[in-house]
C-alpha cells in the first residue's frame, strides 16, 4: 500500500432544486455529496455503508462521471478525471467499471446476453483503445461467461430467460469484459434472495483474488460490508462520518451514528438478540437541502453537546487509520462550515 490508485478530494455533488413551469428558477440545492475525501489503494475492498439518501450511490456514480460534480478532484494515478474529455476519458474509463443494483433494469431486454457482454469490447475496439476482431470478441465472451460460472451456449438467450442471480452474473461479466482494475459495485446483491446472495458474494471474492481487482462496495447491509470489505466508510447525509479498517469499525465504533447503526442490525441468533441493547435513534434523517449550522447528525444524536449545534466537527484521525467527525473525540478541532457559497 503505497500510492493510492484513486484519491477523492473534497468532492461535492449538488443537485439543483428548480421551481416554476416556464421559467425555471433554482431555489436551492440538494447536497447529495458534501465535501468527501478518501483514498483507495490497489487490491483493497472499500465498503461504503449508510442509509438510503446518504449519497453513497451518487458518490460512486460521480467517480465514473455519470453525474456532474460541483467541486473537488478525483485523481486516478495522479490524473484528475474531472478535467478529462473524449478519448482520454475513455482510456481511463476502461479501467473503472460498474456493477449495478438491479439486475432487471441494468440489462437491455432487447439484446442477447452475448451482445450485452460484447458491447464494451466492440466500442473500445472501434475507438481504437483495444484491437479485437469479431472472432476474438466472441472468444472473450465465452471466456467471460465461464468466469462468472455461466455456460457459453447461453449467449444467444435474452435476459428475461434468466433468474435474478444469473442476471447479476451477466452484469458482472459485462463489467469484467474490459479487464478493469477498479470495480464499483452498487448494492450488487440487495435485490437477490439470501441463498443467491451468498453465491454472488463468493463469486466477487473469487474474482477479486484471480484478477487482483480493487473494489468500492456499496451496501446498506453492514453484516455484508463487514464480511467483504477491508476498510469501511460510513456516510450520513452526504458526509463521511467515520472511516476505519473493517475490524476497527466493528470492534470500536466511534461516531454515535455508527454506534446506532451497528446496534440496529438484527443478528440471526435468538440468544444474542435477547441480550442486546439497542440504541434507538429518535426522528428521521433530515433533508440534505437544508442549510444547517453545526453537525449534520445533531438532531438525532444521543450524545449531542452545545458545541455541536454551533460548529461542524472536523474529520480527524483518532488512531492509526481511524478517522471520525465528532466533537466527543476532538474538542478543539472545528471544521470549516460546510456551506461553500454556491
Amino acid at each position: 500500500m503505497s500510492e493510492p490508485l484513486l484519491s477523492v478530494r473534497n468532492l461535492r455533488v449538488y443537485f439543483p432544486i428548480k421551481k416554476g413551469i416556464l421559467i425555471q428558477k433554482i431555489v436551492g440545492y440538494v447536497r447529495a455529496v458534501d465535501n468527501i475525501s478518501f483514498d483507495l489503494y490497489k487490491g483493497e475492498i472499500l465498503g461504503v455503508a449508510g442509509e438510503s439518501g446518504c449519497g453513497k450511490t451518487t458518490m460512486v456514480r460521480s467517480i465514473i462521471r455519470l453525474v456532474d460534480v460541483a467541486q473537488g478532484e478525483i485523481l486516478w494515478n495522479g490524473v484528475n478525471l474531472l478535467t478529462l474529455e473524449g478519448q482520454k476519458l475513455l482510456e481511463i474509463r476502461r479501467h473503472i467499471q460498474m456493477i449495478f443494483q438491479d439486475p432487471y433494469s441494468s440489462l437491455d431486454p432487447r439484446m442477447t446476453v452475448g451482445t450485452i457482454i460484447a458491447e464494451p469490447l466492440e466500442i473500445f475496439s472501434r475507438r481504437g483503445i483495444l484491437s479485437f476482431n469479431k472472432t476474438q470478441i466472441q472468444e472473450q465472451v465465452d471466456e467471460l461467461l465461464q468466469t462468472v460460472k455461466l455456460s457459453p451456449h447461453m449467449k444467444n438467450r435474452y435476459p428475461h430467460e434468466f433468474s435474478g442471480g444469473q442476471r447479476q452474473r451477466i452484469g458482472i461479466a459485462r463489467a469484467l469484459a474490459l479487464r478493469p482494475q477498479l470495480l464499483l459495485a452498487d448494492e450488487p446483491v440487495s435485490a437477490l434472495d439470501v441463498s443467491i446472495q451468498a453465491q454472488i458474494i463468493n463469486l466477487l471474492r473469487d474474482l477479486q483474488r484471480t484478477f487482483s481487482l480493487t473494489f468500492v462496495f456499496i451496501a446498506h447491509d453492514l453484516a455484508l460490508v463487514r464480511y467483504i470489505a477491508d476498510r469501511v466508510i460510513i456516510m450520513y447525509l452526504g458526509h463521511v462520518v467515520e472511516q476505519a479498517a473493517t475490524e476497527d469499525i466493528f470492534a470500536n465504533p466511534l461516531h454515535p451514528y455508527t454506534k446506532a447503526l451497528l446496534s440496529a442490525i438484527p443478528i440471526p441468533d435468538p440468544n444474542v438478540e435477547k441480550k442486546r441493547k439497542r440504541i434507538l435513534l429518535s426522528g428521521e434523517v433530515s433533508l440534505p437541502s437544508r442549510e444547517q449550522k453545526g453537525c449534520i447528525f445533531y438532531d438525532r444524536c444521543p450524545s449531542r453537546m452545545a458545541i455541536c449545534k454551533q460548529h461542524n466537527p472536523a474529520f480527524v484521525s483518532i488512531s492509526k487509520g481511524h478517522k471520525t467527525a465528532c466533537f466527543l473525540y476532538s474538542k478543539e478541532e472545528i471544521g470549516k462550515d460546510s456551506s461553500t457559497g454556491i
Binding site: 442509509e51 438510503s52 433468474s163 442471480g165 444469473q166 434472495d193 439470501v194 441463498s195 443467491i196 446472495q197 451468498a198 453465491q199 458474494i201 463468493n202 446498506h220 447491509d221 453492514l222 453484516a223 455484508l224 463487514r226 464480511y227 467483504i228 473493517t246 466493528f250 446506532a260 447503526l261 451497528l262 446496534s263 440496529a264 442490525i265 438484527p266 443478528i267 440471526p268 441468533d269 435468538p270 440468544n271 444474542v272 438478540e273 435477547k274 442486546r276 439497542r278 434507538l280 435513534l281 428521521e284 434523517v285
Partner: protein, 329 residues
C-alpha cells in the same frame, strides 16, 4: 396455550398462461394466543399468499383455487360469506403490508383512513373516531399527532407511514395481526424503531402476530416460534431456539449458513446453496428442494416426505428423519 388460528391442509393454486401455479402446497400450522409466529422464506415461497389467504384477500376465480381449512375461533374463514368476512377483516384480523408507500390511499387524509376502520367496526361517531385516531398516532410515536392527523400520506416519511399503517391495523385491537415484511422497505435505524413499536403494542393489546419475513435477524429478535417455507411447502417448524441453534432441514441449514453475520469470524467462507429456486409451475411430486439439496436421496425425487419428527416437538418435512407419530398432523 389457547390456539386461536388453526390452518389445516391449505393449498392455493393460480391458473397462469403457462399452466397451474401451486403457490401454497398442503400446509398446516396453528397460532397460539399472544405469541409471535415467524414465517420465513425467500421470494416465491408462498409466505405472502398464506397471509393473504387468511385475510381472504385472494380472488377466487376460475382455475384458481384455495383448498383446506382456516379455522379462526371455531369458524372456517374459507366458508364465510364475503359480508361476514368483512366483519372480521380489519377488525379481529388485521394486516400490515410490506410497502407503506402504496398501502395508504394518497388522496385521503390519514385521519379519514384511520376513522373509516373505527366507524365501520366500532360504530364510533366521527368525532369520537377522530379523537381515537389522534390517540392511536400517539401510541405509534408520531410527533404532534393532533396536528399531523389531518395530513396526507405524502407528508410523512416511509418510517412514519409504516407506523400509521400499524396504527390503523391495531385500531380495533385485533386478535391476530399479520405483518407481511413490515420493515423490508425501511432503513435499519427506522426498522429498529418500527420493530420496537410492534413488540410493545403486541403486549399492550395482547394480540397474536404472524410475522412474514425473509430477514432471519428480525425473526430471531421478535418471534417465539418459526416456520420455514420453500416453494409453497412448510419445510420445518420449531421454536426460535430450535430453528436457529439446531436446524434440521437441509434448506434451513443452508439458509442460516449463507448469511454473513456481524458477530462472526469473517475468514469463514459463506456457504451458499447451489442452484436456484424451482419453477412453481413445472414442479413434480417430489421434494421441491431436491435439485439444490446436498443430502438428497433417490426417494426424494418422486415422493414428498410429509411431516416427520426428528425429536419431540419438532416437525420437519424431510426423508432424513423418522416418520412422525400420527396423532398430530
Amino acid at each position: 396455550m389457547k390456539t386461536i388460528l388453526d390452518i389445516q391442509k391449505l393449498s392455493v393454486s393460480f391458473r397462469t398462461d403457462d399452466g397451474l401455479l401451486q403457490a401454497v402446497n398442503n400446509i398446516s400450522f396453528t397460532l397460539n394466543q399472544g405469541e409471535v409466529l415467524g414465517i420465513v422464506g425467500e421470494s416465491g415461497s408462498g409466505k405472502t399468499v398464506t397471509g393473504m389467504s387468511i385475510m381472504r384477500l385472494l380472488q377466487q376465480s376460475e382455475g384458481s383455487s384455495i383448498k383446506g381449512k382456516i379455522v379462526f375461533e371455531g369458524t372456517d374463514l374459507l366458508k364465510l360469506s364475503e359480508k361476514n368476512m368483512q366483519n372480521i377483516r380489519g377488525n379481529k384480523i388485521a394486516m400490515i403490508f410490506q410497502d407503506p408507500m402504496t398501502s395508504l390511499n394518497p388522496f385521503l387524509r390519514v385521519s379519514t383512513q384511520i376513522m373509516e376502520v373505527l366507524v365501520r367496526h366500532k360504530h364510533m361517531s366521527k368525532r369520537k373516531a377522530h379523537q381515537e385516531a389522534v390517540r392511536l398516532l400517539k401510541m405509534v410515536s408520531i410527533p404532534q399527532p393532533e396536528r399531523r392527523v389531518d395530513n396526507y400520506p405524502h407528508q410523512f416519511s416511509g418510517g412514519m407511514r409504516q407506523r400509521i399503517v400499524i396504527a390503523m391495523a391495531i385500531s380495533c385491537k385485533p386478535h391476530i395481526l399479520i405483518a407481511d415484511e413490515p420493515t423490508t422497505a425501511l432503513d435499519v435505524t427506522i426498522q429498529a424503531q418500527v420493530l420496537d413499536i410492534i413488540k410493545e403494542l403486541k403486549d399492550k393489546i395482547n394480540t397474536a402476530v404472524i410475522l412474514i419475513t425473509h430477514d432471519l435477524g428480525v425473526v430471531a429478535g421478535l418471534c417465539d416460534r418459526v416456520h420455514v417455507m420453500y416453494a409453497g411447502r412448510m419445510m420445518e417448524k420449531g421454536t426460535v431456539h430450535q430453528i436457529f441453534s439446531d436446524p434440521k432441514h437441509p434448506y434451513t441449514q443452508g439458509l442460516l449458513h449463507s448469511l454473513p453475520r456481524i458477530d462472526q469470524n469473517k475468514d469463514e467462507l459463506l456457504s451458499s446453496i447451489p442452484g436456484q429456486a424451482p419453477n412453481l409451475i413445472t414442479l413434480s411430486g417430489g421434494c421441491p428442494f431436491f435439485p439444490r439439496c446436498t443430502e438428497r436421496m433417490d426417494i426424494c425425487l418422486n415422493t414428498y416426505p410429509g411431516s416427520r419428527a426428528p425429536s419431540q416437538n419438532r416437525e420437519v418435512q424431510c426423508w432424513k428423519y423418522e416418520k412422525q407419530e400420527t396423532n398430530n398432523v
